[in-house]
Symmetry: C2
Subunit: 115 residues, 2 copies
């Protein structure tokens, strides 16, 4: 996945520059995040969150991992350099508590579990 020409770069930058999606990427700097966590963090409806994530996923910016009913998203490790540089420039955000039934949440496999 490379942003060779201006057309592609324009497309990806426009996709990323939306405030909600840019904030999503800032959160994903820390690692995986569940859809329900995004729903908890933003003052937006669940469908709105879902649609933003779909755009990022379709563009290849993020990857998904399904575990039961939950869907976890993470940054695509193979991003164009100018995109990963941009993400690196984002402030790091703290993840708030999830709105879903956290007691039933499967343990989020951390990096060291080697997913």
């Amino acid at each position: 996945m490379k942003g060779i020409n201006l057309e592609d770069m324009s497309f990806l930058l426009k996709l990323i520059s939306d405030k909600t999606r840019l904030t999503m990427l800032a959160y994903l700097k820390n690692g995986e995040m569940c859809v329900c966590e995004f729903v908890a963090v933003f003052d937006l409806s669940q469908p709105a969150i879902s649609q933003h994530l779909k755009k990022l996923r379709t563009a290849g910016i993020i990857c998904e991992r399904k575990q039961g009913t939950w869907v976890y998203y993470r940054l695509n490790p193979d991003l164009p350099v100018y995109i990963s540089d941009l993400i690196r420039a984002l402030p790091t955000l703290i993840i708030k508590k999830c709105s879903c039934q956290t007691s039933k949440l499967p343990p989020t496999p951390s990096v060291k579990d080697g997913v």
Copy 2:
């Protein structure tokens, strides 16, 4: 001029990500460029060009230099790092010939003239 928070970054990235404006910045990597040159390069009306340049100027991405009837634009040397990095990632474009009366054009002062 710094893009500290996500709000500012979103604003600037959205502004830059437009294909026409991104292409303008790619041209400006080479140095100054006259408005009439932009008009010659793009398949857009003169007012459309003017409005794009105004957005870039108002946001502090580019600076202007007036010389007679002509207006030259150049990159603001003091851009947020993540913006200048982005511009550096842009392909370098060749400037086509201007549509205005080139015979009357004042000589464009190059970098070595120390404007």
